[in-house]
Amino acid sequence: MIQLSGVTKRYKSLTAVQQLSLEVPKGSFLGLLGPNGAGKTTLVEMIEGLQVPDEGEIRIDGLNWKEHGQQLRKLVGLSLQETRFMEKVTVKETLDLFASFYNLPRSRSDEVMQMVELQEKSKTYTVQLSGGQRQRLALAVALLHKPALLLLDEPTTGLDPHARREIWYLLQQLHQEEKTTLVLTTHYMEEASYLCDRIVIMDKGQVLADGNLRQLLNTFAPGEYIEFKTPLPMSLSKLEKLQGFMSLLPAAEPGFVRLKVKESAIALPPLLSLLQSESAELLSLECRKSTLDDLFLNLTGRRLEE
């Protein structure tokens, strides 16, 4: 569906996107994950035709913006980072206006309004909508002309968890039922993990990692974490002999021990019997899998959501 080859975009001294190549097959749900300033928005806006790359080529369905702009505008649906609409225009009027830009009948705006569940807000001025409702309206505008490719730039940034879930649900439906190809940028790893069947991690205008969640974590952030607290200091050498032991990590507070192991399900029973044999009382215990945040930390030394 999308082919990028050697795409570069520079702003004065800053290179926002550097020699980036990527291929997105039809029907996939791709998440572009990265911290603010990673070049996600620039990349997406180049795919949307809103910015022109300095180098490289972008093709969508074999078409490019230079020659086939008009066709591509009909093919691509997009929602920008925080679009605000005309304030004293209602939801229905906004949709009718944009429907007219695509020569669509007004009945289509009722359909998309139903899809994003904004029927009740049909006569509400856009300025009175909540953040989540406004994003749903932006999504509705993007869906008007049934685009084969939907590009969403941070569709849930600044939304509360409930509103975020509602958008997620909508996007999943589009992916599964309409077979729409989706590309979404986000700096929430949870969002990318939950929604996308492929995740591209970006930093400083380049692709750091590319694959599905499991592949990425296995390759770049293997292992799981065990953290526990005992009243007495543990003999560390014994911990190192645990099955699947990978490393000992600096603990957050005194008395805590942080271990990285291959699989906590395997390492945990021997750890518990070890503690018992040492007659060390267990004050707290926590196990967690690695996340995309750990992965990003491993790759760049920085956290994702900073």
Binding site: L50, Q70, R73, L80, Q81, R84, M86, N103
Partner: protein, 313 residues
């Protein structure tokens, strides 16, 4: 700062040295009375026939008409016009204080026929300024606002042609401005009896060319501004100087001559002066053809320049 400089120029000759522009109407050859007026240093006398004097007054080129009737002088002006009233009092005072002891009988004539009063000067100017306001703020600010909201880029990401978008802005603005024009006009008509003595078609042509000129300027001003402070500043930088110097509230003839020669070609001056001519002097369509053409061309130049550098995203 520019504003202060402009106003400074305009009023630097104000009290006590403000120039008084007088039309002198007399059937006699220049005589003693005429000489006495000339002696007053602040008076700038223009010799005129009766009809010339009326035109000068209508255009704001003089504040007051003084007629010689035998031995006496008749001061004709609109007492509602503050500047004219002050001018008359000053001349009277100077004549009384003069070294020549012979008293001249003075009379006052209140001008109240339609087309000659201060309100007849003011209303056409306000109508012209309304057109400018409506376009600069209406179109200029809307475009900048849409750009800030990213609505502009959202719209051009659809298959809608950009020309359609701009044309819709122009048409909408034209209709709104026409409505505003009629509200002010009807208000002035019923309350003060301000009438259009000339051709309504001439008004329409001027109106349309004004809308086009100022819309073009608005597009140019709004072509790159990406935040409301810069937008505000740019619009004000065009709007404020013109609304002050272009002879809306007071005639620009009081400025130094070199400034007048520039000011009269400013778009707002062109529009205001000619709308005034149609209102008060009954100007015909062909008398407004040239200024309308100039305004139209200005609009075209600004529009094409603006579109060339326009930032849609």
């Amino acid at each position: 700062m520019a504003l202060a400089a402009v106003l400074g120029f305009a009023f630097s000759k104000s009290s006590p040295e403000k120039e008084i522009r007088v039309a002198w109407v007399s059937s006699d050859q220049p005589n003693d009375l005429n000489e006495r007026l000339r002696e007053i240093s602040t008076v700038r006398l223009s010799m005129a026939t009766e009809s010339e004097a009326l035109t000068l007054l209508k255009r704001g080129k003089v504040d007051i008409i003084i007629r010689q009737l035998g031995d006496s002088l008749v001061f004709a002006y609109d007492p509602q016009h503050e500047a004219a009233h002050q001018a008359a009092l000053q001349i009277e005072l100077s004549l009384l204080k003069g070294t020549n002891t012979v008293q001249i009988p003075l009379k006052r004539e209140v001008i109240k026929q339609s087309g000659m009063r201060y309100i007849d000067f003011l209303i056409p100017g306000l109508l012209a300024m309304g057109i400018m306001n409506s376009c600069l703020w209406g179109i200029g600010y809307t475009l900048i606002d849409y750009r800030i909201k990213k609505l502009l880029r959202r719209m051009v990401a659809t298959p809608m042609p950009k020309t359609t978008f701009l044309a819709s802005q122009l048409i909408t603005r034209g209709l709104i401005a026409a409505f505003e024009f009629m509200v002010v006009y009807l208000f002035a008509y019923f309350l003060f009896g301000v009438v259009v003595q000339g051709n309504w078609l001439a008004i329409l042509v001027l109106f349309a060319s004004g809308i086009f000129a100022f819309s073009g300027m608005a597009v140019l001003i709004a072509s790159r501004a990406a935040n409301s402070q810069i937008g505000n500043g740019l619009i004000n930088a065009v709007y404020l100087p013109m609304s002050i110097v272009s002879g809306i509230f007071f005639s620009y003839q009081g400025f130094p001559d070199w400034m007048v020669s520039i000011i009269q070609w400013l778009p707002l001056s062109l529009l205001a002066d000619h709308i005034r001519m149609v209102f008060n002097e009954g100007a015909s369509l062909d008398q407004v053809a040239f200024p309308s053409l100039l305004l139209g061309m200005l609009g075209l130049i600004c529009l094409s320049l603006g579109l060339k550098i326009f930032k849609w995203y």
